[in-house]
Amino acid sequence: MTHPYIPNAEPGVRAEMLAAIGAARVEDFYADIPPELRLDRPLDLPEPFVAEHDLVRHMRSLLGRDTGTEEALSFLGHGCYPHHVPAVCDEVNSRGEFLTAYAGEPYEDHGRFQALFEYVSMMGELLEMDVVNVPTYDGFQAAGTALRMACRHTGRAKVLVSGAVAADKLSKLRDFLAPDIEIVAAPVGPGGEMGEVVLDDTFAAIYLETPNVYGVVETRGRELAELAHAHGALLVVSADPISLGVLAPPAAYGADIACGDIQSLGVHQNHGGGQAGYIATHDDEPLVAQFPSRLFGIAPTTVPGEYGFGDVFYERTSFALREEGKEWVGTAAALWGITAGVYLALMGPQGMREVGETILARTRYAMDALAGAGLRVLHDGAVHFREFAVEVDDAAALLDRLRAQGIYGGVPLDDRTILVCVTERHSIADIDRLAAAVASARRADDEGGRR
């Protein structure tokens, strides 16, 4: 049987093509592969499900063993967030034209170029910055590249990194900035913000996150920008774009590079496969020269008033210069950029403000509700956006109890700390349900303790 995916495996056409080429057998094309390198047996792979329905059954039985966040009530965040994904976002990014396109020229792929140009342009408005990259892999990579950009720009090899950063992200930064760049960790202050720091002229950048890993909104951005600039360093701020309808964009308080993840903008959680990174700067040529990513820009055509698109400053890239380019560039996460553009266009300024206000209010409501359920809420005095940490006796035990009730209560940061995430998807009733479940679990623990 000719497989539906391999038309020219059909014996008749195969013979016809071989004849046209003048080859006797397909083996002829492999004559350059020495016999000792040839695999002399079939690959040892499972029996295939050639019939689509059999494959569907197999996949459904595997995937049916997962219980997702639409079945359970999930308060998991920590870098991957359960925001509402407008149906139009899914409609656009599942269009075959976008889903299966790649690297066409700005003529036959005009639409792809325009969609990505519009994405970076809308991000530019949100960030109040003029230069935004076509998405890189994720927020981790964006942070790593932003710091390398700062180092290349300043010619220095040391960065001060906020201590309120996820452990995995720090792991990525350590790997990615090795071997040449030193990371100095800044302390976390008692309120959950970046603590007091000392800088000198060997630092290339201060790296700040807001909201940070604890969901705390950093309020000292301007001060840190001034500190950095006073030492010839840059301020690099990682900010979640979904907060920027209500929170000031990094540029507003003096950041030189903004970066972060755009998964919150209309992309499903996708078990962590929905991440995509943005990096933004002002239109400052020396700094723009440090971008490794593609930058798309408007170009005129032979017809006045018509917009074409193309790569800005292509000669920065590894495509153009191999190892002499800035880091590297390749397939990354463009479709999520298009999707985030759709999201921003749907939301507009009003929607972005409202979603921010809703998240701020519900986060605070959840903090109060869990405090009411008897948990100690960390950094309670700070402004929180979407996440906050609570201290418990035994994080794993509490989460197990909640999971038994169909609640994913949060991400354990350590044995006694749970990070709780609340978005506009969580209704007040959802939060009340969590608080009640926590209170009842604590009662059960108390009783268990008494026995």
Binding site: Y5, I6, P7, N8, F29, A31, D32, L43, L45, P48, E52, R60, L63, G68, T69, S74, H78, C80, V85, V88, F98, A101, Y102, E105, E108, D109, S121, M122, L126, M129, Y137, F140, D168, K172, D175, A178, R220, L247, A248, Q269, N270, H271, G273, A276, D283, T301, G310, F313, E323, W328, T331, A332, A334, L335, W336, I338, A345, M347, L360, V383
Partner: protein, 488 residues
């Protein structure tokens, strides 16, 4: 469609979606963090947003629409629709759910890892990297960690070849290595004499593609690996071009210590305008302890996450690009060993058939008279010298006939290059049609070169003047920059 920039369609007061109200007391923000002015995002009704993007989508060409053999090295094969439905099934999974609630995806990771290990001959595989280049980088990071663990930090050079993907050189450089690039010899193979000269105590690794982007398979590849091993270096195989050799030859069997695959090339996940993609790193037993963590472990049919003892840490957040892992798994599961071999053989058959057709076009050539596996880097040098029409112009004109034709092949070692890779997905008629388009444009180049140079004629827009894109005073990487520089 003559679709305006989205900002031009904004109308005050419109909105595309409504947001749940707070339902709880508002939080007052201190001035230091409150946004001062609303962002100037477009304001549009939902239908208008949708219409805009549906029109833009129609102005893009995907595999679903065209004979996509002209984006050579990119392996634009059919990405089965049924696999998209499996990818959608993981949309609402959170990566940090308790493993008890994720047994399905964890098993898929584990199974795909085992299958890729078998396909490559490697011992272990990581599916964490977000793309092929990220996988290259992860491999380099493992190479670095491996040497460091052995106290051999002095190994600071990697060797690659000119027809390996630029990311091999670029990632190595990013990771702090000095890069030595081997040029092809007169036969089109990487120059083994140059390799002999390059290897030494500073050699950390060889990073090499095979077949290279020329489609030529280096028959002395095992010798290359051996030379590097003798010098104490590791050999790392860029298998971006694996589509023609699945089930035919394996990385580990040639002695490689590491390799990577692009799930979005060889294993059919969609290119998605340039990602999300996914990469897989395969390593020998000796390197398994350095793999990025976590990886999936199995015991008694239960799956859990473990981090290898000397893991290089995180390459990206979470476990990997799960929707693509699921797609790639499903793709292999519908083909099996026999199907994968048919994929490879048909990719080679299609490539050789197309080469046969293309080389009949006067003015087209395939530098180096060698056999090719799954792609060919061709040259229009002859045609260009005769007509003054450049390969890039031929590509734009070809687009008028509804196909892609990609020319970005820096540095232009092959003059007036174009690279075709027909994969296993296209029919004989498709290849005939593509070759006929090239032949037609080549003949236009002879009879009416200005016609070809004036293209496109069948695009939403006309010929682009790229000069402002490289001029800092004029470039406009966002609409706000454009408004400021050109409309103010």
């Amino acid at each position: 469609w003559d679709e305006p920039i989205i900002f031009e369609q904004s109308r005050p007061g419109q909105r595309g979606i409504a947001v749940p109200g707070p339902g709880a007391p508002a939080v007052e923000l201190p001035d230091s963090v409150r946004r001062a002015a609303p962002p100037a995002l477009p304001e549009m009704s939902q239908l208008h947003v949708l219409r805009h993007y549906v029109r833009l989508s129609q102005e893009s060409l995907g595999v679903d629409l065209n004979v996509d053999v002209g984006q050579g090295t990119c392996t634009m094969k059919y990405s089965p629709k049924v696999n998209d439905s499996f990818a959608r099934a993981v949309a609402e999974l959170h990566p940090l759910q308790h493993p008890d609630t994720l047994q399905g995806v964890l098993e898929i990771y584990w199974r795909l890892e085992r299958m890729l290990a078998e396909i490559s001959g490697m011992a272990r595989v990581s599916l964490q990297p977000g793309s092929g280049s990220a996988a290259i980088y992860a491999n380099i990071a493992m190479i670095r960690a491996y040497h460091a663990a052995r106290g051999e930090e002095h190994r600071d050079q990697v060797i690659t070849t000119m027809f390996s993907h630029p990311s091999n050189a670029a990632c190595a450089k990013t990771a702090g290595y000095e890069v030595i690039t081997l040029m092809p010899d007169a036969d089109g193979y990487p120059d083994i004499k140059a390799l002999r000269a390059a290897v030494g105590p500073r050699t950390a690794a060889l990073l090499i593609t095979n077949p290279e982007d020329t489609g030529i398979f280096n028959p002395r590849i095992a010798e290359f690996v051996e030379l590097v091993h003798q010098a104490g270096g590791l050999a790392c195989y860029d298998q971006a071009n694996a589509n023609g050799i699945l089930g035919i030859t394996r990385a580990r069997d040639a002695g490689f210590d590491l390799c990577h695959f692009n799930l979005h090339k060889t294993f059919s996940t969609p290119h998605a305008c340039g990602g999300p993609a996914a990469g897989a790193c395969g390593v020998s037993e000796a390197l398994a302890e350095f793999l990025p963590g976590p990886v999936v472990a199995e015991q008694d049919g239960r799956f859990s996450l473990v981090t290898p003892p000397r893991s290089i840490g995180k390459i990206r957040p979470f476990l990997g690009v799960t929707p693509n892992v699921v797609r790639a798994y499903a793709w292999i599961m519908t083909l099996g060993a026999e199907g994968l071999r048919q994929v490879a053989e048909t990719a080679a058959l299609n490539n050789n058939y197309l080469m046969h057709k293309v080389l009949q076009i006067p003015g087209a050539s395939a530098p180096w008279d060698r056999r090719r596996i799954e792609q060919v880097r061709y040259s229009w040098q002859e045609l260009s010298e005769e007509t003054g029409v450049h390969s890039e112009e031929i590509g734009v004109r070809a687009a008028d006939f509804g196909v892609h034709y990609w020319t970005s092949h820096h540095p232009y070692l092959v003059p007036e290059p174009f690279t075709l890779e027909p994969t296993e997905s296209y029919s004989k008629e498709d290849l005939d049609e593509y070759a006929a388009i090239l032949a037609h444009v080549a003949s236009e180049a002879r009879t009416d070169p200005e016609l070809v140079k004036g293209a496109p004629y069948n695009s939403p827009i006309h010929k682009i003047d790229p000069t402002p894109l490289d001029d800092p005073r004029q470039w406009a990487p966002t609409w706000r920059a454009y408004v400021r520089k050109h409309l103010a």
